[in-house]
Subunit: 112 residues, 2 copies
């Protein structure tokens, strides 16, 4: 099972928005791009402002969409690691474009 | 007054996400990029699934952020047109990156 996008069957743009929708997915993908494989607690700390509950929910959606892979280790307590899949890694140009726009428009952004 | 981004003062990426947050802003920017200046009703039809109320709210935020400009004409009934500002137009690389990802991952997106 990969990525939800039935509402706009012929609009790749809106289907992508549908998949990446929500305040946190871009931020999670951004962290995983920067740091590679991350454990849950590390990811929770890195994505400033997110709650554990929201992180669980968004990671489940990203996993269902085939953007993130999850690996659990039978340690005590159990350890879970998250990694971007190839599909997830291919989102890098979007993340870079957002970063570049933010840096160029920092004066605009911080005046709000 | 330009763009809200106080929550993550030194992270251009998160400030940009803060500004572009929400299901509809990208879709509105996408339509204005494609069609240039648009009237409210035309924009409402073009952004599939949006309600008039949500469009009013998102356009107000985009205007406050300096991304969209609004022009009203004293016709009867009054006519209002929306156009991307220079700052808004500079979002094009993000929109293009989302479009390109969607087209490359169409198989992944539509399987959801």
């Amino acid at each position: 099972m990969a990525v939800r996008g039935k509402e706009f069957p012929n609009c790749a743009f809106r289907q992508t928005l549908d998949v990446l929708e929500g305040k946190w997915k871009f931020a999670i993908i951004h962290s995983l791009l920067l740091h590679g494989t991350m454990r849950f607690k590390t990811l929770e700390r890195d994505v400033a402002g997110i709650t554990a509950r929201m992180l669980v929910k968004e990671l489940k959606l990203l996993e269902a969409h085939g953007i993130v892979s999850r690996r659990a280790y039978a340690t005590v307590p159990p350890t879970v690691e998250y990694t971007l899949t190839e599909c997830g890694l291919s989102l890098e140009p979007i993340i870079e474009a957002i970063q570049a726009w933010g840096e160029k428009n920092r004066a605009v952004i911080s005046q709000a």
